[in-house]
Symmetry: none
Subunit: 155 residues, 2 copies
DNA sequence: TGGTATAACATGGTATTTTATGGGATTCAA
DNA sequence: TTGAATCCCATAAAATACCATGTTATACCA
């Protein structure tokens, strides 16, 4: 059994006419080894699909149960949005999932999907949008170097 | 079980046509003993590849998880950049990893890779670039001797 | 201490497996 | 029964495991 579970790397995969996409092999391996499933929903902050393990959402649900006070009303609304939007995606024997129209539309994905690892989560982007987003982030991080350094030194 | 794990030394290894490089034996030993894997990504500060143990990134992911709530956008950029770029590299029975085009290009590596130990991390350089970088660093450190001590203590 | 045997390592080449992806066939539900 | 979703098969490319060899470093012994 593996110790560490991180969604990483940036992978470009084709979306075929039926809407099928190969989930990157590494991502599959994680879901398989944890005997959990992949869940996807529309990102609240960007024009992309966001995904994580069902475990993560379960953890979120438990946190809400145990510490209701801790969550502000707005955050509570957000959880409604997430759980209302989230959907499990089982992959078939060849490792593909079928994204829904709603998700694909939100991310503007047509024939190619970009999987971007985020550690405990990942995102799925339209290639052009991701290219722009990556450039934007990189520029911003470079501008705020001191912050980055402080964060990295926490390691 | 070993007490101390540090990436050290400077090792020159060949990169073959497929992008395969022998990971220095000492580095392999560390990953093996810790039962973790090597992760590499493009350095944010220099034209080189940076590597560390998957443990380090996992720690970072956990910190982010704990420090922010599920929907936080503050760390969003950073996680996209770090985890989106990072990739696991398992070495085969002969101790080689296969670096990607993206990484090799960022570091300008063609046929030889220089592994430079950095303690908890290491870097992989193009030989010429490393030569220049080492000279630069050496000159700078000699010039700023008093500062060096203060900087080291911050870490 | 010097010399030799042994083991470890880097590295080239080849074989095998995995992965992504296209194209049906089959099942299911409206 | 028609459209959509799921499953199964096939294939090409890419990643990975395996084998072989020369070289270097290490251990061992006189």
């Amino acid at each position: 059994m593996r110790k560490i579970f991180l969604f990483m790397d940036t992978i470009f995969n084709k979306v075929d006419a039926k809407g099928r996409v190969s989930l990157p092999a590494d991502y599959r391996a994680i879901a398989k080894e944890l005997s959990t499933e992949i869940v996807c929903y529309r990102s609240l902050s960007a024009p992309c699909i966001e995904g994580c393990l069902e475990d993560s959402l379960d953890k979120l649900a438990t946190e809400i149960e145990n510490a209701t006070d801790f969550f502000s009303e707005t955050q509570d609304n957000l959880t409604n949005l997430i759980f209302g939007d989230a959907k499990r995606f089982a992959f078939d024997s060849t490792g593909r999932i079928m994204l829904t129209e709603k998700l694909l539309k939100h991310a503007g994905i047509t024939d190619t999907a970009v999987f971007v690892g985020k550690g405990r989560k990942f995102q799925i982007w339209n290639p052009q949008n991701w290219e722009k987003e990556e450039a934007r982030i990189r520029a911003e991080v470079m501008k705020n170097r001191p912050t980055l350094k402080a964060q990295k030194e926490q390691e």
